[in-house]
Amino acid sequence: MNRRVVFPNKLLPYLLVAPQIAITSVFFFWPAFQAVRQSLYRDDPFGFSSRFVGLDNFEMVLSDPAYINSLQVTVVFSLSVAVVALVAALLLAVMADRVVAGKGIYRTLLIWPYAVAPAIAGMLWLFLFSPAMGTLAVMLRDLGIDWNPLLRGDQAMAMVVGAAAWKQISYNFLFFLAGLQAIPKSLIEAAAIDGAGPARRFWTIVFPLLSPTTFFLLVVNTVYAFFDTFGIIHAVTGGGPGKSTETLVYKVYNDGFVNLNLGASSAQSVILMVIVIALTVIQFKYVERRVHYA
C-alpha cells in the first residue's frame, strides 16, 4: 500500500487524520477500554463505590441461567434468520437470473425492504400478526392455529425471525445475483450439451461456484442477526414473552439501562466484543480472498 510519489508535508497529514482519530478515540477506544475495566469491578448497591472483583462478573454472567438462555435464543434466532433469508434470496436470485424480460423491474421491486428500518420492519409484522387486529392472525386462527405471540414464546420467535429475515432478503438477493452473473456461461453451456438438465446444472456447477458468496453472506447475516436486529426485538416483543426472544444484545441493553447492573452489562459487552472479533477474523481469513464480483 505504499505509493512511490507522496507529498512532502510534515504537519498536514496529521491534521487530515485528526477528526477521525479524535472521534475514534473518544467514542470507540475510551468506551471499549471502560467496558473492559468495568467488567472487572462491581458497584455497591448504592453506587457510592466500586471494588475490583477480577473475573467474578464473567463467572456470574456465564453461570447465570438467564444468560445461557439468551445465548441459546441468539443462536436459534441467528441461524433461523440466516437460513430463511439465504434460501429465499437464492431461490429468487436464480429465478431472476433465468428470466430475460422484466429483470430490472423484478430487481427494483425486491430490493426496497433494505431501506426499511429494522424497528419499522418489526412494526409491520406486528400489524399483520397482532392477535387484536392483524389480518393474518385472524387467518391463522381460522386455520385452527392457536395464534398468540404475546403468550407463546415459539410464536413470538417465529414473528421476529420472519421480520428480520424479510428485511435481509433484498441484501442477499443482490449479492447472489451478482455471484450468479459472474459464473461463466460457457461452463453451463458445456454441461447442457452433455445433457445435464437445469436442476443437475444448478447442484453440480452453479451452487459450488456460488459457495464463496454463500459463505460470505452467512457471516454477514449472522452479524446482522446478532447486532442489527435490536430494533426488531425491542419494538415487537421487548424480549418476551418470558425471556423467549431476549438476544445477547438485548440483554446487554436491558441489564445496563433497565436493571442498571453495570458490572454484568460490561462483562456481557466484553463477551460480545470477543464474538465480533472472532466473526471479523473469520470474515477476513476465509472470505476476503475468495469472493470476487465481476
Binding site: V5, I21, P113
Partner: protein, 281 residues
C-alpha cells in the same frame, strides 16, 4: 438462455411474482391501513383495497392530530432528516480526509493510525453502549444533534473504500500535478475529489439509509420528545396503546417514516448497488 424451456421461464416468473408479493405485502398492507378508519383497522379481517381516507389520515398526521408528547410528525421527520444527512455527510468528509492522508503522505505513525481506524470495525456501538452513553452524558451531549450523530461518524468501511480507490490512481497523475505546482490540497480539490464523485454518491446512499434507520443510539441519547427521530416516536406511539389509539394515523406515519429511504434506494439504485457491493468488500 441455454435452451428454450417456455414452462421453466413461466415458472421463474411465477416464483418471482410470488416472492415480490410476499416481500411487498407488509408494506402494502400498512399502506391500505393508512387509508382506512381506526374502526375498520380494528375489525379484522381488514379490507385489502385502499379506502377513501387517504387525505384525511395523512393530513391529520401533519396537522398534529397525532403527537408524541406534544411533538408533531413534521418535527420528527425533520430530526430524522438532519440526523441522516449529518451522519452521511460527516462520515464521507472525515473518511475521505483520513484516507487522503494515509495514501498520499508518508509520515511517522501512518500505519499506526491505519490500524487504529481498521480496528473500529470490531467495536460496533452495541458492544460498548453503556460506556459510550456515559461519555455522551459527561460531555453534556444528551438531546443534541451532535450527540445523535458525532459518535456514529467514524467509519472504517468508508475510509477503506476511499483508500482502495485512491490506491488505483496512477503515480503519474500525482507527479503531473506536482510538476504543475499543485500543493496537496489543490490536488485534492481539483483532481481527487472530481474523480471520487461516483464513490461519494454510492456511499451517500448507503450512509443515508444507515443514518435514517438508526434505532438503539437515538433511543439512548434522546429523553426530550422534541429530539426523537420518527422511528423512536412511532415506537413510543405503539407501545402506549389504549382504546383511543388512532391506528389510522399511526399507519400513515409508518408509511411516511419508510418513504424517504425507499425513495433514495429506488431512484438512486445504480449507486445503491455499487455502494452495497463495494463497502462490503
Amino acid at each position: 438462455m441455454i435452451e428454450r424451456r417456455p414452462l421453466g421461464a413461466l415458472l421463474a416468473h411465477f416464483i418471482l411474482i410470488v416472492g415480490i408479493v410476499i416481500v411487498a405485502f407488509p408494506i402494502y398492507y400498512t399502506f391500505v391501513a393508512s387509508t382506512l378508519t381506526t374502526q375498520q383497522i380494528m375489525a379484522p379481517p381488514m379490507p385489502l383495497v385502499p379506502g377513501g381516507h387517504f387525505i384525511e389520515n395523512y393530513g391529520g398526521a401533519f396537522a398534529g392530530v397525532a403527537t408524541i408528547g406534544g411533538v408533531g410528525v413534521d418535527r420528527l421527520l425533520l430530526n430524522t432528516l438532519v440526523v441522516a444527512l449529518a451522519i452521511a455527510c460527516g462520515k464521507i468528509v472525515i473518511s475521505i480526509l483520513s484516507a487522503f492522508a494515509i495514501v498520499f503522505f508518508s509520515f511517522p505513525g501512518r500505519m499506526f493510525f491505519f490500524w487504529m481506524i481498521f480496528i473500529t470495525l470490531m467495536l460496533p456501538v452495541e458492544v460498548r453502549i453503556l460506556p459510550t452513553y456515559q461519555v455522551i452524558v459527561d460531555l453534556g451531549l444528551i438531546d443534541t444533534y451532535t450527540g445523535l450523530t458525532l459518535p456514529l461518524m467514524a467509519s472504517a468501511t468508508a475510509t477503506f473504500l476511499f483508500r482502495q480507490f485512491f490506491l488505483t490512481i496512477p503515480d503519474e497523475l500525482v507527479e503531473a500535478a506536482r510538476i504543475d505546482g499543485a500543493g496537496p490540497m489543490r490536488f485534492f480539490r481539483d483532481i481527487l475529489l472530481p474523480l471520487s464523485y461516483t464513490n461519494i454518491a454510492a456511499l451517500f446512499v448507503i450512509l443515508f439509509i444507515y443514518g435514517w434507520t438508526q434505532y438503539l443510539w437515538p433511543l439512548l441519547i434522546t429523553n426530550d420528545n422534541n429530539m426523537n427521530t420518527i422511528i423512536i416516536g412511532l415506537r413510543k406511539m405503539i407501545s402506549f396503546v389504549d382504546a383511543d389509539t388512532q391506528w389510522n394515523l399511526i399507519m400513515a406515519i409508518t408509511i411516511l417514516a419508510m418513504l424517504p429511504p425507499i425513495a433514495v434506494v429506488v431512484f438512486m439504485q445504480r449507486w445503491f448497488v455499487k455502494g452495497l457491493v463495494e463497502t462490503e468488500k
